[in-house]
Amino acid sequence: MDCGMAQDTTVPKLNFEYWLDKAVEWGQATTLESQKDVCLHLPQLQEFLHQLYETIKHLVLLDQRGKLEKQSQQGPTAAIQQFPLIGQLLGRLCWNPFVIGYDESQKTLMWCLCCLYSSEPQNAVELKANSWIRSLLCHLLSSSKWESNEAETSTFISALGYTSADYYCHLVKNMVVSLVTELRENQFNGLSIQENISASRVNAISIFCVPLITLPDLTPLLETLLLYHGGSSKEVLSSEFLEAVNEAFLKKKISLPESAVFSLWLRHLPSLEKATLHLLDQVFSIQLNSLEEVACVIKDSLLPQAASHPAIFRIVNEIFKNALMETDGTSEVMTIIKVFTQLFLLAYQNENKQPKFPLKAYFPYHHQPLVRSLVRRPFELSTAYWSQHVKHISDMLKALVEDTNVSSLTDLFEIWFLVACFGEWLDIAAEQLLKAAVEPDPVLWLLAFYYCPKNENQQRTQTMVEAQAVYNHLMMLFSCADLSLKDLEAAVRRVTGIEQCCNQRLTMHLLTNFLLFSSGGHKIAQECIYHITEITDTSKEVYNLLIHTAYRLNHSGEENQRTVKLMNELLQKLKLKV
């Protein structure tokens, strides 16, 4: 066995000196600055310790294999040769309660110490090192020779048949209860505060909690801190604390009651932003099978429920808007926005605890009658009334948009965004066109507006005209039982042709509905959609459209089983293409 070869493995470049300097600088973390600095570096330090351990472990293993050599050195010696100051580093870190209290750092530190312990010490230096390691471990786990009062307690407790594990379990719980009581008694109750706790004390407590956030014993204290409101208007909790709690919550390392989470987001804007962006990432990463899944993820994030606070709603909405603009209106973002708005409405309407905020608080710059119409859930109205409602929305919208006051693109975008959020009514509009006896023009105008809001070069007007043509064409064929692809050629060509995008999507929407809801359309649905998605790059759009329709059908109790069955088949086929 040639051990020389094994030495070839490159030791990853560890930034040892940097962390040793940091450890020296922090000392035992007794000043506020050092405490804040430690808190900021805890995750990276943990990563570094992990890498350090892997390195030493590797070295130790190598060395043990090298026992065959004459000058067999003990495993730990190799590690010390590589990192001569490792003792200093580990020792200092063991005395920093922020480091020990954090996540898994204490485990890795103890593993490192274990690695450096030699089972056959050859000389006085190694003996001393062994002794020092044991003292450090005792300091971490039981009674330390450096802390005199711990010895008495330890003897007493072991006489009772318990270990330091039991003792510290109780001790931490007691301390938490004590702090929680103190904080709760000092709540600002609107009358007068006794000023028993100063803002700096609460701030200090919040910093001490940073490494301990994922320790389950601390959850009551975290909750109390998040809900704490002293008399001052400035934020009294440290930002390191708020960020760390948010991180832990988003990664699902802790669970907090809803009120605490809402309070966190209300008092710390960056946390809310991070939570929203995290949600977007999450939804993007899941395989879009059904809107139910998306709804589940969004609901779990607690953002729709939090959005009952108008401030939160408006910020989240802004972030979604920006995301939409940055991705050029991609359908996934639009989906998220629509589902989010639905869930928000659900939470808002079910909220019967506190006095509700008026709708104007959530949509302050919009035409309130329009808002009220859009907020009505379809199930609140009888189906017979739906087309009238859609017409009502369309008329209001038309009046707003064609009013000369709405001149800027920004205003137009805002109105368009409002309508787009409440996508349910748009889907219903498209369906009603084909299923019910409606006056087509207002409905078509609504759809035309959604797909092509801008009208500087008469794009919308043009879209409207073409939409009417498509509609007439499809209505003629609606009652035909036997159809072939050729009959739909005119409509299909609009979709597959290299024409304006708005027309393409509107036509696709109408066409899809036709295929799903007309008897003749069922037979050629698969063929038609296959044809379209072969030629154009619209599989994702069509898939999206179908998913939305499926979601609505599932929730509205569509009786037509054939439609549902067809829907599922189409989705299956398309999923493979997307």
Binding site: F98, I100, G101, E104, Q106, K107, M110, W111, L113, C114, Y117, S118, S119, E120, N130, R134, L137, C138, L140, L141, S142, S143, E152, T153, T155, F156, I157, S158, A159, L160, G161, Y162, T163, S164, A165, D166, Y167, Y168, C169, H170, L171, V172, N174, M175, S178, L179, E182, E185, N196, I197, R201, A204, I205, F208, C209, P211, L212, L215, D217, L218
Partner: protein, 401 residues
């Protein structure tokens, strides 16, 4: 079963050895064996904790094997930690064995059932948490450290109660059956039987007191007093507030269990009080060391304590005499008088502010003493009269708790 009982007897010896210098001869194999034993004991604990009779048998055997029965059935459950930490602290353990110990403590091979792989890192984390959260307290009451020690003491005492209760219960049941069988026995035998039970119970109580004394003597006296005071206070804060983490208290969820535990609490309190009140010097030191408000709280909840405390205070009061030149009460014999006038007054005021009942008791006692002194309501003639005046003045708006 006899084999198991025989093995369980070895537990105290194992732990004793692990703390002694005998480990200097251990090698890694010996250490492995010791840890195996510890895991085996833990396994026994898991198997038998829900089976009262077997558990009782194991406990009895354990106690018999110790000169001073400190370890109980729950000690079996935490044997790996007890052993591991004891060995870690034992400097006589040679390096090879120690290395093996460290590896198995911190990197358990493959977490078996019942072993807690998070155990030691969690302990280190909690210890760090205790240092971080040790901000100076603003909430009145005993410090968290004292409270933690008190909780452990209480839960240990409760185990004793539970076992004694079960043992006494079994004894009563058994003797009851015997009585039924010998229905026509003379009353004399019955009396003898119950007399034996009484002796047994008295003997057990005395044994427990010895044990408690022994345990409390391990702490420096002021701390021991703090722990006992905290324990007595905790007992009055209601049940359910103190549960040892691993659910040693089986069967306490049923309503009968609840009543039993309430009764058990009474016995535990009784034991603590008999330790406190059994020795006059000790009790005196206890009362001197604790602040008046805290003692008043305890006196309000424990009648025996309030009586003895009042007696103590009046004893101290007798050592004050009035100095007309200075116009106040001073200590007469400096080595016997423990409290100054001001301190005495403050303590009486605390008592009266505690509760109406306590206030009435205190005032009644003071009035009686003043009457014995001649019942003069003039300052400077009777320390009791002066105290009554101060107390009456201060406690006009006492809040009855």
């Amino acid at each position: 079963m006899e084999a198991v009982l025989g093995q369980v007897e070895q537990l105290p010896a194992l732990l004793a050895v692990s703390r002694s210098a005998l480990v200097r001869d251990w090698d890694s194999l010996t250490l492995d064996r010791a840890l195996e034993w510890a895991r085996y004991f833990q396994h026994l604990h898991e198997r038998f904790r829900a089976r009262p009779q077997l558990r009782e048998a194991l406990s009895r055997r354990l106690r018999r094997s110790q000169p001073c029965p400190l370890l109980g059935f729950p000690a079996l459950g935490r044997c790996p930690q007890l052993l591991g930490l004891a060995l870690l602290e034992n400097r006589a353990l040679p390096p090879a064995a120690c290395r093996r110990l460290l590896r198995s403590l911190l990197q358990p091979p493959g977490a078996g059932p019942g072993s807690d792989p998070r155990g030691l890192p969690l302990l280190a984390r909690r210890k760090a948490a205790a240092r971080l959260l040790a901000v100076p307290r603003r909430v009145p009451g005993p410090e968290p450290q004292l409270q933690a020690e008190a909780r452990l003491l209480l839960s240990r005492l409760r185990q004793e109660e539970q076992q004694d209760g079960e043992a006494a219960g079994q004894l009563r049941w058994r003797s009851g059956v015997q009585e039924e069988q010998r229905a026509g026995e003379a009353a004399g035998q019955q009396r003898r039987l119950s007399g034996v039970q009484e002796e047994q119970r008295a003997g057990e109580a005395a044994g427990q007191l010895r044990w408690l004394s022994g345990a409390l003597e391990l702490l420096p006296q002021p701390r021991a007093f703090g722990v006992v005071a905290a324990a007595l206070a905790l007992l009055k804060q209601g049940p359910g507030a103190e549960q040892v983490g691993d659910g040693d208290r089986d069967g306490s969820s049923s309503p009968e269990g609840y009543q039993e535990s309430a009764a058990g609490d009474g016995c535990t309190a009784g034991l603590l009080l008999s330790w406190l009140l059994g020795n006059q010097e000790r009790f005196s030191a206890f009362c001197l060391g604790l602040p008046g408000s805290h003692l008043a709280f305890l006196a309000g909840h424990y009648p025996q304590l309030s009586r003895s405390y009042l007696d103590l205070l009046t004893g101290w009061g007798r050592h004050l005499h009035y100095d007309p030149l200075q116009g106040r009460w001073v200590k007469s014999c400096l080595d016997k008088a423990e409290l100054s006038w001001e301190e005495l007054r403050e303590r009486f005021i605390c008592l009266c502010q505690r509760s109406r009942l306590l206030k009435e008791q205190t005032q009644a006692a003071l009035e009686l003493l003043r009457t014995q002194d001649g019942d003069f309501k003039v300052r400077g003639l009777s320390v009791w009269g002066d105290l009554l005046m101060e107390v009456g003045y201060k406690c006009v708006n006492t809040k009855a708790t």
